[in-house]
Structure formats: C-alpha cells, structure tokens
C-alpha cells in the first residue's frame, strides 16, 4: 500500500467519523419541519429543518426569491398551530403575499421594530417562546454573541429561526444549523422562476451542494430541475 492511498483511507475514515458525530445528534422522535422544497429536503440529514435551530438564507440584493423559500418553510412550521413571528425592521413585509403562499393569517404575528436594538430584542424574545413556531427576520449585521444567543434561545424555545441576510454575510462565522445561498436564474420558457441554491453549511454534510430549483407561482411548489455535479464549492465559497 503506497503512502498516498493510506492517507486517503485515513481521511475517508475520519470524514465518516465526523459525519457520524455531526449527524447523530441525539434528537429522538423530533418533528422535522419540511422546507417544502423537495430537493433541499433530500439533502438535509433529517429530511428537513429541525425546530430549535437557525437557518440562514443569504441572497445578494432584492428580488431573489429567498424570502419565498423561507415563508414556505415557515408555513410548514406553523402547522403545529404555533404562529410565525415576522420581525420586520423596514416595514416592507407584505402579508397578503405570504397568505397567498399558504400561510394562515391567523398564525401570523407581525412585529415592527424601529431600531436594531428593538429588532434584536424582539427576535430573541420570540425565539425563546415555546408558543412560537417560527421567527422570520432580516438582520443585516449580526455580531457573533447575538448570533450565539439567538441559537441558544431557539433551542430553548424549540423555535425555527429563519434569517434573511445579505450575501456578504457568508464570510462571517455562523451559529446557524443550515446556511443557504440563493442565486436567481433567468426564468424558464414557461415563465417559472428558477433559482440556484448553494447549501453552504449543514451539519453532517461536507462541501457545498449546489442544485437548481424551479418555483411555480401558482401552486407555490418547488421542484428540482438539475442536480449539478456537486460537491464542488463555487469559486467564491469560503466555508464559515
């Protein structure tokens, strides 16, 4: 056996061990929140997001479709009758659109926070509350301590935290269980929206998984269009 192959085997073994340690988080009988995006669910180790964790959606600029994906996951999280708390700092979240995606307006609580301090406090309090199903927020800048506090709060409240953040945030460290980068693509000839998702970070997975999805605006269903030859990190990707 030559030294290089021994090294490969060793690395493979170590990777397997890490994967086992990371994926077999003791969560017996936990309810998984489907992302309502089948190709993404297929990649996530539990087949969906876990309540009590944070999910980051990174997107460059506006109009990318990242919030739609987050609302789809929130819709699933509110099936337990626990509401979605939207902490909106800019006052621009438009509830009728969320209702059209299938969110029950009775399970939607809109919180308007004018300052960053109020926003951080409201997110923290909502994540900590066992009566809440999911929290949706747009923190642009998030220091590590606040991020960690939110992660602990989400764990305490068993709440799914959905954070929409600018793409530059990928350079920052993260306490999110799942981190996704959303890139819009030109729409399909039928006029359906297409998005390229990069699964930048997820417990139990190594490397960046990239895949394309198509979104139907009528039914709000998402399906896969291609599974790119992954796991190759896109040039800019630097794992946090």
């Amino acid at each position: 056996m030559n030294p290089s192959s021994a090294k490969t085997i060793q690395i493979t073994q170590l990777q397997a061990q890490i994967a086992q340690m990371e994926s077999l988080h003791p969560r017996g009988g936990v309810k998984v929140v489907s992302s309502n995006c089948p190709p993404l669910d297929a990649l996530l180790p539990h087949g969906g997001f876990l309540p009590g964790t944070l999910v980051e959606w990174l997107a460059e600029g506006a109009g990318t479709g990242a919030v739609t994906l987050a609302v789809l996951a929130a819709r699933q999280a509110t099936h337990s009758r626990r509401p979605l708390v939207v902490v909106d700092r800019r006052g621009q979240f438009y509830p009728p659109a969320a209702v059209r995606i299938g969110l029950d307006p009775k399970r939607l609580i809109l919180v308007r926070a004018d300052t960053q301090a109020d926003q951080f406090w409201a997110v923290d309090q909502s994540l900590r509350c066992r009566g809440v199903g999911a929290v949706l927020a747009w923190p642009r800048r998030l220091d590590v301590r606040t991020f960690r506090r939110w992660q602990l709060a989400a764990e305490e409240g068993d709440v799914l935290g959905l954070l929409i953040r600018p793409a530059v945030a990928r350079k920052e460290p993260s306490w999110a269980e799942v981190r996704l980068l959303v890139e819009p693509l030109p729409s399909s000839p039928k006029g359906r929206r297409r998005l390229r998702l990069h699964l930048l970070r997820c417990r139990g997975l190594t490397g960046v998984q990239t895949f394309d999805v198509e979104m139907d605006d009528e039914t709000h269903s998402v399906h896969s269009t291609s599974q790119l030859a992954s796991p190759t990190a896109p040039g800019r990707a630097a794992r946090a």
Binding site: T68, P96, A97, R100, V111, G131, P184, S187
Partner: protein, 535 residues
C-alpha cells in the same frame, strides 16, 4: 381626523344589495342635494368633479372615533359607553347623578352639545329615562328634524309617551321582526302598545318585547362603559414624599394588588392599565380624580383641566396593554416594572395611582385551559407563553407595533390588508367577513412608498400610447438593471370617489440577473415606479 376634508362635501358610501349608496353625508354635501340611501352614481352629477369626496363607510373607524370621544365625555359622567352594536353611532352617558352639578339635565346636555361644537362636530343630544329611549329619541324624534334643535330633554317619567309616535325601527328589533311588523301594518311604537302584551313574544319572538321594555325602563339596560376609571382605580398617598425606590415599589405593589382584588370581585379583568406617579415639585393635580370627587366645584375644575394639562414633569404616566383580561397582580407588576425601568421619575414620589382603563369579562384559567385542550389535538404547550410574549413585545415596542393581519377586499395593494393591535381594548366586533377570495400574485416586499424610477438616459420613456411596453433599463437599488422579461400589465384602478384616484399598470419584470421586481406606470403622468420585489 381628516382636517383637509373640513368644510368640504363628504359622503360615506356603503354597498346595499350590490349598489353603492350614500350611507351618511356632511352638511356641505346635503346642501348640494345629497340624501341618504341615494345611489352613488346619481350623486356624481351634483357637483363639479373633484369637489365631492366619497369614502367607504367603515364601522371599525366609527367605533374607534367614538371611543376617543367617549374619553372626552368623562367630565360629564363617570359612566360613558359606546353603543354596543356592530355599527355604533352613539355615545351613551349616564347622567343620573351628575346632572345637578351642571344645573339640571338640559344644562348638562347643552354643555355636551357645546363641547362638541367647539370641536366642530354637530351632535344630537337626547335625555331620557333609559339609554335605549334616549337612543330612539335622538335618532327619530321630529324635534331634531323639523325644528332642528340640537338637544331634547324628555321629562322624567314621560319616556314611554315620547316613544309612542316614533317609528318601530327606533326600538331596534331584529330585522326579521321588523319586516313582519311592517307587513302587519305596525309602523309606530304606539301601535305596538295596543297589541296584547302577553302575546308579543309568541308572535314576534322574545327580542321585541325585550327591546321595548328596555326603552321604557321596565327592564334595565346596562351601558357598556368604555371608561371604567372611576370603577377600578387604586391609589396610594405618601405621608412624606419619598425618593426611596423600595418604598415606591412597595406602594406600586400595594395598589396593583388592590386593583387586582377589586377587579376580581367584579368579575372583570384589565386589558389596559394606566399607572401614574405624582412627583414633587409641582402640585399633585388629581385631574381625573377631581372630576370624580370634586363635588360642587366640579365644573370649574373640569374646564380648567381641559385647558391646562397638569405639568408633565410632576406627573409620570404610562399605559400597559394586555392580550387577555387579567387580574393577576404579579403579572401586572412585572409588566409595570418593565415600563417603570424606562421612565425617569422627576422627584420625590407623593402618590401612586393605577387604573384599569379597559376591562373585559374575566375568563377563568380553568375554563380557558379546557377550551384550549379541545382546540389543540396535540395538547400543544406554550399558548400561555405566547400570550405573555405578545404582551411583552407590545409593551416595549408599542401596541401599534405588534399586529395581527386582516386582509381586505381592496384592489389597491397598499389597502389590501390592515394590521390590528393584539393587545389592549376590547376585541373588536368585525362588521364584515374576513376576506376569503382568490388572492392575486403579489411581491413579499412592498415599499411603503413607491420609488420613482429614472429611466436610463439613452432610452426615451414610452409614450402613453405604448401601454404594454416597459422601460428596458432601470436604475434601482443603486444599480442599473437590464430587463429581460416582463409580464402584465395588470391594471389597478380605484374608484374616483377615493379622493386621490389611483390608476396604474403593474408589470412584473425580470432582470438579466434573474431578479423579479414589481413596477408600475401611472396612467395619468406616464411615470414609472418600483413598488416591490418578489423576494
């Protein structure tokens, strides 16, 4: 509420069996010949265009306005209520005990009318033995319509007689009963008196007799007070004004416990609680307290209070709102302490007062647990925590900042929903059904103000004739975007009666980078705006 509409002909419209009709109109509009129940289409020709403003009638707005006016009326009576119907239009004042302080009922009613006149509001005031009787007289008595007098006092004991000549509608019986009565030729209350009383319930249902008895005073009718300050307050006066925080906290605890005790005894829970700290220097103006206890110099004081609010430095006040009526002193204290931490007491504290501004019937925990369990199949925990979260958020961020979403059937995107506060105040009765139609495709991000677009200089703006063409390049969000796809237009127009008419052609566009934006072109100016992004 809308000063720009002052002195202009204004009409409130409402749909009756598919036809938009006049529900109410201002005097200026009446002078133009507008009458109630007239179809809006007919009104159109009465004034030069643009002069007439037509707004949709909204009972919720009415109720909110009445609640505000009720607050101003608390110097006339300790018990002021808003008409407890889905579409309230009246304030009810119990003046049994206070009339003599103003020199009689007529004098008091005169002051009420004058007080509203000073605020440029015309009202009709009726004094009668019962609140239902006063309502009937104020709405239907000829004195208001023929002699145009603003107030009418029915002498004590004569209310049943006064009702005789009023139409049967004045008793507000249920709609079906009303139709039946008209079919039988019973149009006036007096005719009802000729029918055998015992047979009324079996012929017309129990409600008619109840309405009548309430109007004549045979049965009592409660006024649902909006301002229960006089009923549920607790105060503490320091023997020596103190600066010690512990003493102030102990005092607060004492008054809150007293308040909780009083509320529990009455079977009510507080939904809004006001807390006041009277600090030195400066006099201790018990402005509201003076109204209650001031005895003979009542009217002087209340007018003084009208003009000069007590020095704000001497009085520190704040209000907390609750999701569900509560008497739990510990819970109230927790919320008050959260607020108190942010307040600066100006000096030694001479007194503390707490008052339940709004209360609701107390729902016992046992009962609510039970209903919860049946509603939630999985025995979901956290309902109570959720209520507490809503209260904490509302009390720190303001009750206008924590909202539940109510969809409205309005074509204009900005008006297609409304946020309603989750805490404080009685649950509002919804006059309309929640909107349940097919929702149009809309962006998740809608700018509170549409952003005017500057088309790239190399391109000329499309002329108003090319309605379907949108600009090929736009500046937006600090970048230039090349548009590759466009869907639309979706034309959104609002009625001309909205005052500022909206006429826009919306386009959903996609940029070369695959981003989706929502643009519109104003049909009147041809200018382009970005209104949202499909995030």
């Amino acid at each position: 509420m809308r000063p720009e509409l002052d002195g202009r002909p204004l009409i409130l419209s409402r749909q009756v069996r598919g036809v938009e009709r006049v529900f109410a109109c201002s005097h200026e509009a009446a002078a133009l010949g507008v009458i109630r129940r007239q179809p809006i289409a007919e009104v159109k020709g009465l004034a030069a265009d643009g002069r007439l403003t037509v707004l949709p009638h909204d009972p919720d707005t009415d109720r909110a306005a009445l609640l505000q006016w009720a607050e101003h009326c608390d110097r006339f009576s300790p018990l002021v209520g808003v008409d407890d119907t889905p579409e309230p239009d009246s304030l009810l004042l119990d003046i049994t005990a206070t009339a003599r302080l103003f020199g009689g009922e007529t004098a008091l009613a005169g002051e009420v009318v004058a007080a509203f006149a000073r605020r440029r509001l015309r009202v009709r005031a009726a004094v009668a033995d019962t609140s239902a009787g006063a309502w009937a007289v104020a709405h239907f008595h000829g004195a208001f319509f023929i002699q145009r007098s603003p107030l009418l006092q029915i002498p004590p004991g004569e209310t049943p007689d006064a009702l005789r000549l009023l139409p049967i509608e004045s008793l507000r019986p249920p709609g079906r009963t009303l139709t039946l009565l008209h079919e039988l030729g019973v149009d006036l209350v007096g005719q009802l008196a000729l029918l055998p009383r015992d047979e009324l319930p079996s012929r017309f249902g129990p409600e008619l007799l109840r309405c009548w008895d309430r109007a004549t005073g045979v049965q009592p009718e409660p006024i649902c007070a909006v301002w229960l300050r006089s009923e549920f307050t607790a105060s503490w006066e320091a023997e020596v004004p103190t600066r010690r925080r512990e003493t102030v906290h102990a005092a607060l605890e004492q008054v809150v416990e007293q308040l909780g005790h009083d509320l529990r005894a009455a079977g009510r829970g507080a939904t809004r609680v006001e807390c006041r700290f009277y600090c030195l220097p400066g006099e201790w103006h018990g402005d509201r307290a003076a109204v209650r206890q001031g005895g003979n110099d009542f009217s002087n004081k209340s007018q003084a209070g009208d003009m000069a609010p007590p020095s704000s430095r001497a009085l520190v006040r704040f209000v907390i709102g609750l999701f569900r009526p509560t008497v739990d002193a510990k819970h109230l204290l927790g919320l008050l302490h959260l607020k108190l931490e942010k307040e600066q007491l100006s000096g030694p504290v001479a007194g503390v007062e707490v008052a339940a501004l709004e209360t609701g019937p107390l729902v016992h925990r046992q009962l609510s647990l039970f209903t919860r369990d049946t509603a939630d199949d999985n025995g979901q925990p956290g309902r109570h925590e959720l209520e507490q979260l809503i209260e904490r958020l509302s009390n720190r961020l303001g009750r206008q900042a924590v909202l539940t979403v109510c969809l409205l059937p309005d074509a204009q995107p900005e008006r297609a929903w409304r946020g309603e506060s989750l805490v404080g105040g009685p649950r509002r009765k919804r006059a309309g059904k929640p909107f349940a139609g097919e929702l149009p495709f809309r962006p998740l991000t809608l700018f509170s103000r549409p952003l005017a677009l500057r088309a790239a200089p190399s391109l000329h703006l499309p002329s108003p004739e090319d309605e379907a063409i949108s600009p090929a390049r736009i500046h937006f969000d600090g970048e230039e975007h090349c548009l590759t796809e466009s869907w639309g237009p979706e034309r959104i127009e609002t009625g001309w009666w909205r005052g500022r008419q909206i006429a826009r052609d919306y386009h959903r566009v996609e940029t070369a980078a695959g981003r989706c934006l929502w643009l519109f072109r104003r049909l009147d100016t041809g200018r382009w705006f970005a209104h949202g992004t499909f995030d």
